[in-house]
């Protein structure tokens, strides 16, 4: 390390006066690795009565709202939902698209930001990756819930049936199955690989059942050069390969609609439009979760700071603008040159009985983020960001609602126009899947290190200050 550059790690406990403002940043506020380990382990083992109450309540809700209602649905029939001709798809598919969208954030944050070496990603890659995995778990339930005969769902899996008939590989639903399986498996592995050193850390510092779990999962990690090199290689293969997979997943979800002959769906821009929407809702959800983690998980105020929420807030603003651009593109082209059916549909969205959904979508996805996220002070205020990001996700849910039932109900044969309103079983299942997501997240927050300690430490070692003229500026050296 060059002489004029001063590694902060050497001056752990002596912050110099002039660098004081830099210490607001996690990377310039280093603590010994031992302390970081202790803080993370502490956050995993520290449980309050409030935590157990939340776990208990969520478990009961998952058992009743989700599993109980699903059982009832299976035994009686899809008829208990509000679906009817011509709205054959409703809340089931809306919620499916919503969760798959949420699941895009983890990969976006930890793969794209990793590839572009965005340093602010370091403390929350794990939190975002977990969101991907659990979002997919909650989302992958929905195509099953939706099926008329879920007990034969495996007929979609590529293997020949008793008459040697294979599934139809020209159906977007089979593509969906393949894409979601690929994404679920690869994002789970992508969660697991950078976890290895942290699992080894937890293995060295725990006893009893925790030690047994971590020992099994850490695969005998010692931290040898070969292990690090292999891990780095595997992570970089994943970071580059999982990005196109992520793009393909939501593109294929959009193709479920765009491949159809339904007016308003058959649009060439649906692929990128859905991806941008997914990233918008996903990154917003990451902020929501970070704010909640910061407030509830022990020691997280050290790891997750306003600077991180600020940086993600900028991304949300950018994606909100991109979403508006794609939305307008889709809208104007359909309005100007589209068939009568699409024009009628667009005025139905804006002035039909459910027009409030369409206006709320625009308000939450465009107006509110554009008005608030310009402001650095607001971006650094956790509760403001919590409200804004929750509203964005409500807006994105409304977007999918507009695209699915509100479009299906207004097609080419006016005789078959129809309205859709969800019934209690569907709402119960949707809330149940939200509870499932929160429950999985709550449990995981106490089981696996929520902060990738080694990545934070690597970042802190890579960050230095350099004197330029009369001031000091942060620099980052590339350690890999």
């Amino acid at each position: 390390m060059a002489a004029e550059v001063k590694p902060i790690a050497n001056t752990l406990h002596t912050p110099s006066e002039e660098h004081e403002e830099l210490r607001e940043q996690l990377m310039f506020d280093p603590r010994p690795r031992e302390e970081l380990n202790r803080m993370v382990l502490d956050s995993m083992t520290h449980t309050t009565p409030r935590y157990w109450t939340a776990v208990g309540v969520l478990t009961v809700l998952v058992l009743t709202l989700l599993l109980g209602m699903w059982g009832y649905l299976i035994f009686t029939g899809i008829g208990i939902s509000g679906e009817r001709r011509p709205n054959y798809w409703g809340i089931f598919i809306v919620t499916f698209v919503f969760w798959i969208g949420i699941s895009h954030a983890g990969t976006f944050v930890s793969a794209i930001l990793r590839v572009f070496k965005a340093e602010f990603r370091r403390p929350f890659t794990r939190a975002a990756e977990l969101m991907t995995t659990f979002g997919l778990a909650a989302g992958a339930l929905w195509p099953l819930i939706h099926l008329g005969r879920v007990w034969v769902f495996y007929w979609m899996i590529p293997y020949p049936n008793a008459r040697w008939l294979w599934p139809n590989f020209r159906s977007p639903l089979v593509w969906d199955l393949l894409a979601i399986t690929t994404y679920l498996l690869s994002s789970t592995i992508y969660l697991f690989l950078p976890l290895l050193p942290d699992l080894a850390m937890a293995r060295d510092r725990t006893t009893g059942w925790r030690h047994a779990i971590y020992r099994a999962l850490a695969l005998g990690w010692r931290g040898t050069e070969a292990e690090w090199a292999r891990l780095r290689k595997a992570i970089s293969i994943f970071a580059f390969a999982i990005i196109p997979v992520m793009f393909s997943v939501h593109t294929i979800v959009s193709w479920d609609f765009a491949m159809g002959m339904v007016g308003g769906w058959n649009s060439t821009i649906f692929g990128p439009y859905f991806i941008i929407g997914a990233i918008l809702s996903g990154v917003s959800a990451v902020i929501t979760i970070l704010v909640v983690l910061r407030a509830t998980l022990k020691n997280m105020t050290y790891f997750i700071r306003p600077e991180h929420i600020d940086a993600l807030g900028k991304l949300v603003l950018v994606f909100s603008m991109a979403w508006a651009y794609f939305f307008f593109n889709d809208y104007l082209v359909q309005w100007y040159g589209g068939h009568d059916v699409v024009r009628a549909l667009l005025s139905f969205h804006a002035s039909g009985p459910d027009a409030w959904i369409w206006y709320c979508m625009l308000l939450f996805n465009i107006v509110i983020p554009w008005l608030t996220l310009w402001n650095k002070k607001l971006r650094r205020t956790p509760w403001v960001m919590l409200v804004v990001t929750l509203l964005i996700n409500v807006g994105m849910y409304f977007e999918r609602y507009t695209i699915i039932p509100l479009t299906l109900g207004h097609q080419r044969m006016p005789f078959d126009w129809g309205e859709y309103s969800p019934r209690f079983p569907e709402i119960s299942l949707a809330l149940g899947s939200l509870c499932l997501f929160m429950l999985l997240y709550l449990l995981a927050s106490r089981l696996i290190p929520m902060v990738p300690v080694w990545e934070v430490r690597e970042g802190q070692e890579a960050h230095l200050v350099r004197k330029v003229g009369k001031t000091v500026v942060p620099t980052v050296s590339e350690l890999d």
Binding site: R84, R149, W155, N168, P172, G260, R412, P414
Partner: protein, 243 residues
Amino acid sequence: MAEQIKEQVNERWGMVIDMNLCTGCNACVTACAMENNIPWVGEDDAGYGRGIYWMRIQRYWEGEYPETTPSYQPVMCQQCGHAPCEPVCPVFATVHSEEEQINLQVYNRCIGTRYCANNCPYFARSFNWFDYSYQIPEPLNYYLNPNVTVRRRGVMEKCTFCVQRIHAGQEQAKAQGRAVRDGEVVPACAQACPADAIIFGDLSDPNSRVSQAARSQRSYTLLEALGTEPKVIYLKGEGTYGG
């Protein structure tokens, strides 16, 4: 492969519906329900929009009240040549039949994704929201047609051009060592139509009644611009009988 298939194909079933003759009496809808074991879903569900119809009479009102005239149009599965419902099914539950050149629904293979119903621009498909077959009270179950599957809950169903009648006609002709005669195969709706507005037959035979009717200047198909190549051809009505 393609040549083999071509050799097998000798008939192309089609239908002509003369809107000048249709009075909107719903006899075809009733006959269809009886022939094809179409379940009665109950008052509440039917009112909610879950009625199962393989064909229905679309009724539109024309003109301003009180000078209104109804217009009726029987619509069923149009048996598209390029059916949008077919490729989207993940399990090949709805397929193009090479034999009859119609669009078939395989109930036992259907898993109920309802994608086909969304993708049908004619809304010709109905879904079994509940197990309606259990709701038939005891002596009434004798009305069920043994030639047609009784559908269970969670599967899609639609008009088949009474494929069971097509097969019966073909088998009878084969047993007597002759070709199927024009007018020999009649689906339930055509049989029941008191005005003879529905003509059914082989479109590949230029002399059949249906082919002659299809060549009328009044003929059109529904949503022709979509390129679905329907096998149901309508003859435009002149508003004389409300048709």
